[in-house]
Amino acid sequence: MSDTLPKVPDTASAPPSAGDGPARPSPLARALAHPLLWPVLALVVLLAVNVAAQPGFLEVRLQDGHLFGSVIDILRNSAPIMLVATGMTLVIATRGIDLSVGAIAAIAGAIACTQIVGAADQGAASVAIIASTTAVAACVLLGLWNGFLVAVLGIQPIIATLVLMVAGRGLAMLVTDGQITTVNNDTFSDLASGFVLTLPIALIIALVVFGLTAVLTRRTALGMLIEAVGINPEASRLAGVRSRTIIWTVYVFAGFCAGVAGLIIAANTSSVNANSLGLWIELDAILAVVIGGTSLAGGRFSLAGTLVGAVFIATLARTIPTIGIPSEANYLFKAVVVVLVCLLQSPKARAAIGSLLTARHSKGATS
């Protein structure tokens, strides 16, 4: 490179074929580099552990037109996390975070249950529908509030949503008057335990919301604009992207998802305890998003990864008692998963591992 003087470009312009660009990798390398590889692999390992501990684990049987089996159970149980995580994915893609979703879920459950209990005909389907709609509408309002704080007032997302995280359960208790409200409404409890077309309704709801989100973000330009705002807000603004509207929208959507999730959780026990409903679901949802390969720093997101992440968490919760560990130890495993995923995503950790593996001296100057 010594005699081609005038051709030496500026520091940023490596020739296109230079080694650091993605230069036509082999199919195997491509598969290895696929963002979904690790989450799927982790899920498969988890399932394998289950099968080893309980050979009939994967069995699914049809009974009374319903599918039954551990796998179906896990999927049904993962529905709330799936919902919340879907909303969270979009929020995180805009460089945000929503800590208030657990509290919002509790408020949704509280509103729905108190409305049903207060209705003249507690068991009527119409009552359940009206109550659920009201609850979700309230959650959309709460999402609007979060979005207002973040997009309009410009408060850091983690701080802005902390407000509702702190106050939200108080609001839920205000709604239920501090009581554990139990409802007796078949339509409502069907939200969690009912079946349609052999599948649990909860799962169908979660998948429908997920599917609509996927279509809405990937078939329209919404996903690209969300990513643009998340990666470089200022460049997006200068390109004319309505970043404020987009950011506001994702918080509203997160509120909506949390509301629906809250309904399903409440329906599962046909009751609402404002203190414990959806407790820490925000953390599980964030975990699902992170496991799915979406970076907490915002930008490119993977809804499919989030789906895998949510199922992974539900499977983990199921696996631990199966292999004879007290289910409370679930948290330990989650901690390990969080650390592993973060280390895998951390450029610094990768560099450290890389230099350990290749045993070559690595340069201090990385961008």
Binding site: M1, L5, P6, V8, P9, D10, T11, A12, S13, A14, P15, P16, A18, G19, D20, G21, P22, R219, T220, A221, L222, M224, L225, E227, A228, I231, N232, E234, A235, S236, R237, L238, A239, G240, V241, R242, I246, G299, R300, K363, G364, A365, S367
Partner: protein, 541 residues
């Protein structure tokens, strides 16, 4: 500052003790005895790209040494190598004759090498004194002695002739004062070498004078100062010796006295100048079709960035904006586009008077703006070339109406071919492209929106010569097709080559506007410098 003489302050500073009293600006005679710092044959590569190859630098005590070069010449890389931010691949760094290898900025500081960057690298939430003394506060019984600390800080400030209360919170002061405090801190670390990396870009002329006064005091005290600045006049005013870099290589080390500005610029630009000359365009057809203006700005201004400015733009016209960094050229562009909102005045587009309050307003009126800060305000690094290219068009259509796949493919393919973007892969991630190719994608982003007016702020900065010529040719071509262009560049040759009309900026206002009929670089420099001389009354060649 109108202060009486402050007592000489040479006692605590290492190095030779010169007498106080003003020394002539010519500086000490070069005495290539023992340089306080010598960098020999330094090379640094990033990936496959050589950022520095075989560069040397000598710094002598008691001199101001200007480090000259265009963007991308390797100045900042060299500085970062000296201050321990980057590790060098080959070469040696000698400090006081002994070989040193700085692994961290702290190590370099320990050896007496201090740096003050363009952005003030202090913490705004602490006091001036704390900022100066952080990390080496005087202690009594293991606890920080705030009184002693304030006393020491006050002494240093006084020595430099700075009137700043040590107990005031740093963030409450204007940037210029913060910059001076940063220097005070750097000097207080018993600095033998002080590196000033573009310290003047955000200062006004009074503040620059103040800074130079401080620099002279330090020079008298035997400190070797590395001065990086885009302002040639300032370099000539304060520096004794200079090292010129180009494309990561050493061009020459020479004394400032006896080097004309023309010689300097030629060495900085090198052969590039000749290559560019081949592109010479017909001097503008004085005034293209006038008629109603496309855009009229009346009294457009914003506090602290641009004084009220009038401007008219016509279809098919290229307006070149010349001016030094910080002259208000970027601010003008941002106000025209609504990227910053104006405090005063209005922008009228095709006779519809309405203040542009956001980029969207401007885009709706078919105005496009490519920012000088390619990385921070242009590139969406983790999206593909195609997404980057179509971002503005998509944003104006709204998210519900995605661009049809067929149109998308065609548009992207067309522009990749037309602008010769490499790699010619629509799905390549933007971050993998070179600066020049990124710039072309950003241009394409606006061209697909078919604007009437294209505002280009430094579109050719930091990109290789091939891409540079291509972009210049493109601008000429667009104007010929009737698009109106505002072209802003630090390179006067480029501005003159392309523009029909010339606007000269200085000190945040428009100082001249004239048709580009045979105006030469020296004419423009004279316009800028003429103002400069009469205002600052600086007495140099």
């Amino acid at each position: 500052m109108t202060q009486t003489d402050v007592p000489p302050a040479t006692d605590d500073v290492p190095g030779q003790a010169t007498d106080d009293g003003p020394t002539p600006a010519t500086g000490p005679q070069p005495d290539p005895g023992t340089p306080v710092v010598e960098m020999r044959d330094i090379s640094i590569t990033f990936g496959a790209v050589a950022a520095l190859s075989g560069v040397s630098l000598r710094l002598f005590p008691g001199e101001v040494h200007a480090l000259m070069g265009e963007n991308g010449a390797g100045k900042s890389t060299l500085i970062k190598a000296l201050t321990g931010v980057y590790t060098i691949d080959s070469g040696t760094i000698l400090v006081g004759g002994r070989e040193q290898d700085f692994a961290t900025p702290a190590a370099a500081q320990g050896a007496g090498i201090s740096t003050v960057y363009q952005e003030v690298n202090l913490v705004p939430n602490l006091t001036v004194a704390e900022n100066m003394m952080l990390g080496r506060e005087p202690r009594r019984f293991g606890m920080i002695d705030h009184r002693a600390m304030n006393r020491q800080a006050a002494a240093t400030l006084e020595r430099l002739g700075l009137d700043v209360a040590p107990g005031s919170v740093l963030g409450d002061h204007p940037i210029a004062v913060q910059q001076l405090v940063a220097i005070a801190r750097a000097v207080d670390v018993e600095a033998r070498v002080l590196i000033l990396d573009e310290p003047t870009s955000s200062l006004d002329s009074d503040e620059v004078a103040k800074l130079f006064e401080v620099m002279r005091r330090l020079r008298e005290a035997g400190v070797a100062i590395v001065f990086v600045s885009h302002f040639l006049d300032q370099v000539y005013e304060i520096s004794d010796r200079m090292t010129i870099l180009r494309n990561g290589r050493l061009v020459e080390e020479r004394m400032v006295a006896g080097t004309t500005q023309l010689e300097l610029v030629q060495r900085m630009i090198g052969r590039d100048l000749e290559v560019l000359d081949q592109l010479d365009r017909e001097p503008a057809s004085a005034a293209p079709t006038r008629g109603t203006p496309l855009l009229t700005a009346v009294g457009l201004g914003r506090k602290g960035s641009l004084e009220a400015t009038d401007l008219e733009l016509y279809d098919g016209e290229v307006i070149g904006v010349a001016g030094l960094l910080g002259s208000g050229r970027t601010e003008l562009a941002r106000l025209l586009f609504g990227a910053d909102s104006a405090d005063t005045g209005s922008v009228e587009v095709r006779a519809s008077r309405r203040r542009l309050r956001s980029p969207r307003h401007a885009i709706d009126r078919k105005i496009a703006f490519s920012s000088e800060d390619r990385k921070g305000e242009g590139v969406i690094a983790d999206l593909t070339v195609a997404d980057n290219m179509l971002l503005a068009l998509q944003a104006s259509r709204g998210w519900l109406r995605p661009i049809p796949q067929a149109t998308r493919t065609r548009l992207v393919a067309d522009y990749i071919e037309a602008l010769d973007i490499r790699p010619a892969d629509p799905n390549a991630l933007m971050r993998h492209l070179s600066g020049g190719n990124q710039q072309k994608v950003l241009l394409a982003r606006w061209l697909v929106t078919e604007p009437d007016l294209l505002i280009l702020d430094e579109p050719t900065r930091g990109i290789d010569i091939g891409a540079k010529t291509q972009i210049q040719a493109l601008v000429a071509d667009l104007a010929a097709k009737g698009m109106s262009v505002v072209f802003i560049s630090a390179e006067l040759e480029e501005v003159l080559r392309l523009s029909d009309r010339l606007v000269v900026m200085r000190d945040r206002r428009k100082i001249a506007e004239r048709p580009n009929d045979g105006v030469s670089v020296s004419d423009v420099l004279e316009i800028i410098a003429g103002e400069a001389r009469s205002e600052e009354e600086t007495a140099h060649v």
